[in-house]
């Protein structure tokens, strides 16, 4: 779903796909609301867009729109609202509804009167709706496209910018959620979009759109978030991936000291800002949970980093497992006793986002393209955690979840892993390492700690020697899927002597854990061993603090344990004629010779 609502919003795509979006979201609808829009200018596509953004929060909408520019009469004297009995009214007014702006020869008393009159008109509407117990959303005012006296417009008593700012201050003071009156801050929204795009003179002069169609999704999103918030349908928990989401790098490989966080690098600064944003959510009552594919004992250590703004106590649930992330979502829901529709999820990896979307469509998920801070921007623009009131209870809520959590870490395997992997349409290249792959191979061997049964390191000259050796098998693997290319993610080196091959080095990036890529790599090794007349493949596993992920690797591939010396386990695999390939899920592409 997230692609239709991806940021920046796309007005025509939302509009043209509205039937499809509604059909996709229909199964997730939990309730229905009636909304009436009072018109101050052309409401246009808001009639379609507000229901779409509400559907994203699980709310189905029946919407009706008043006659063009009749908001005042409609609210005070009309019968439409009485008959329709809406749950909510949105008052779509803009500066085009201001009767008169200051003239340079006005007295300051005249300006005060103008402000009172403008404010009174809005107040009458609000009062009329309050009497009917209808919850109401009112706009403040956007700034005018052109200024009457340039920069002085903000300073001079007759300046139009100053006039709008004074009006907005009055409106702000009349907003009171306890009375059912909510603000839609178009002064902010128009600056997000940019006034030049917010207001299009063509659309105004021809069709009386005071807000250009292009900018309408920003209003729809904000109005929908306000309604969803007051109706309790916004999100309550932010699920966070760790590596490359809350810090740069991979904690399991790079260590606490190696991850990028803090003022020393631009990326580190960006991740620290993401943490600042997440911490601010936590402080106003949004619960946090970790949903990460990681070694549980290592995942915590990132929060001990000197520049970590978040501490592990900020998280009400902490799921660092090798399970599919949708399985973790289920576990977090159980621990916190909340529904899946309470969750938003951030992750740098499109494949994880898609796995969660497939299995837990109620969860709103976000990723980023270039800067991690895009995560904060998207959460803000969709009003995922929009508050309408800040109560003492809000400020305590996150710790409430934490105290109630069951600390057990369930390592359940999902029954649908294979199904999920099949949907990724994975393609791999598994081939001998050549010059182009050499540098990446050295880097991967030396920085990988998790998928690394021997923790043997190498350097470029040593690798070169091995590549020259005609007997040794030196393979690299690249993996891509429908979301993109992961590049070179696995290296395997095996020395061959006579009819025995020994895997002395095998590493894989944690980005592609649980994709069964090891099957494809091992198949290629066996194939090459057969060609060389190798009868036995031997390997060993030497446990370290970090490589628990591969403790059963060779058992799973069909090796036999043949010896144990100290903590080192030795394995043997017999290459037989009846050998069958393990790989089922990854399409192997052969590089041109």
């Amino acid at each position: 779903m997230s692609n239709f609502f991806s940021y920046p919003f796309d007005h025509t795509s939302l509009l043209r796909n509205r039937r499809k979006i509604k059909e996709l979201l229909q199964p997730l609808m939990k309730r229905k609301l009636k909304i009436y829009v009072l018109s101050g200018s052309t409401v246009g596509e808001l009639k379609d867009l507000i229901p779409l953004f509400l559907a994203n929060f699980g709310i189905e909408t029946e919407i009706r729109v008043g006659e063009y520019n009749t908001y005042y009469e409609d609210a005070l004297f009309g019968s439409n609202i009485k008959e329709f009995k809406p749950d909510w009214v949105y008052l779509h007014t803009t500066i085009k509804n201001i009767n008169r702006f200051p003239n340079l020869d006005d007295t300051s008393e005249t300006i005060d009167t103008l402000i009172q009159e403008e404010y009174a008109r809005l107040a009458h509407v609000i009062e009329a709706l309050r009497k009917q117990s209808v919850k109401t959303i009112v706009n403040n005012f956007e700034l005018p496209l052109v200024r009457n006296i340039g920069n002085l417009s903000s300073v001079h008593p007759m300046g139009h910018i100053r006039f709008i700012n004074r009006l907005n201050q009055n409106i702000g003071e009349s907003i009171d959620a306890a009375q059912g009156v909510y603000l839609n801050d178009i002064n902010y929204l128009s600056s997000v979009v940019g006034l030049d795009r917010w207001f299009d003179p063509n659309y105004w002069h021809a069709f009386k759109y005071a807000v250009s169609p292009f900018a309408l999704p920003w209003i729809a999103s904000s109005v929908a978030a306000t309604i969803a918030s007051a109706e309790g349908a916004t999100k309550k928990v932010l699920l966070c991936d760790l590596d490359n989401t809350l810090w740069g790098g991979v904690i399991g490989d790079d260590d606490k000291e190696g991850i990028e966080l803090g003022p020393e690098t631009p990326k580190g600064e960006a991740f620290q800002d993401v943490q600042n944003y997440v911490k601010a959510l936590r402080k106003r009552g949004i619960a946090l949970a970790v949903n990460s594919k990681n070694d549980p004992s290592l995942a915590y250590t990132g929060f001990d980093h000197d520049y970590s703004v978040l501490s592990k106590d900020d998280f009400s649930a902490f799921l660092a497992t090798w399970n599919p992330k949708s399985v973790n979502v289920g576990e977090i829901a159980t621990q916190l006793n909340l529904g899946f529709d309470s969750f938003a999820f951030i992750d740098d990896n499109d494949a994880e986002i898609s796995e969660v979307a497939l299995n837990r469509p109620e969860v709103l998920s976000f990723t980023y393209a270039s800067s991690p801070f895009e995560l904060a921007v998207q959460i803000d623009r969709l009003g995922v955690f929009e508050p309408t009131l800040l109560s003492a209870e809000d400020l305590k809520r996150a710790s409430y979840y934490r105290d109630n959590q069951k600390r057990e870490q369930l390592m359940r395997q999902a029954s649908s892993v294979e199904e999920y992997l099949a949907t990724l349409a994975m393609k791999a290249v598994v081939a001998p390492i050549g010059q182009p792959e050499r540098e990446r191979a050295v880097q991967l061997i030396n920085k990988t700690n998790q998928f690394n049964p021997t923790t043997r390191r190498t350097d470029a000259p040593e690798l070169d020697r091995r590549l020259d050796d005609r007997e040794d098998v030196a393979l690299y693997a690249k993996l891509k899927d429908k979301f993109g290319d992961n590049g070179i993610v696995s290296i395997l080196l095996a020395g061959v002597k006579g009819d025995i091959a020994e895997i002395d080095t095998w590493v894989m990036s944690c980005r592609v854990f649980n994709r069964q890529l090891e099957h494809a790599v091992f198949d290629e090794l066996v194939r090459r061993c057969k060609d060389k007349g190798v009868k036995h493949i031997v390997a060993s596993y030497q446990p370290t603090e970090k490589n628990g992920y591969v403790q059963d690797l060779y058992d799973k591939l069909g090796f036999e344990r043949v010896a144990e010396a100290g903590d080192v386990r030795r394995y043997r695999f017999d290459v037989v004629d009846t050998w069958e390939e393990l790989n089922r899920l990854i399409e192997i592409e052969y590089e041109p010779a």
Binding site: T12, R16, R18, F214
Partner: protein, 76 residues
């Protein structure tokens, strides 16, 4: 996809009528639901699809398929 098909798809999406058949003689008079708001939306969608910008003067042309086709540079 030829230009007529492309315009047909835009009109189908905007009017939310997936089965609508359009030919180059059609317009506001012959297609139910093609009101002035629909014309505006068709204009926005054509502008986005063809990466063109339109002005007030162009607007009256969004009332018939033939004039839309000539605006986007396709012969009717």
């Amino acid at each position: 996809m030829n230009q007529l098909d492309k315009i047909q798809q835009i009109i189908r999406d905007v009017l939310d009528r997936p089965d609508l058949e359009i030919n180059s003689n059609d317009g506001q008079e012959t297609v139910e639901g093609w009101d002035s708001l629909a014309s505006i939306n068709i204009m926005s969608a054509v502008a986005a699809d063809y990466e063109m910008t339109f002005t007030i003067d162009d607007f009256p042309k969004f009332t018939s398929v033939e004039s839309i086709l000539s605006l986007v540079g396709a012969e009717a």
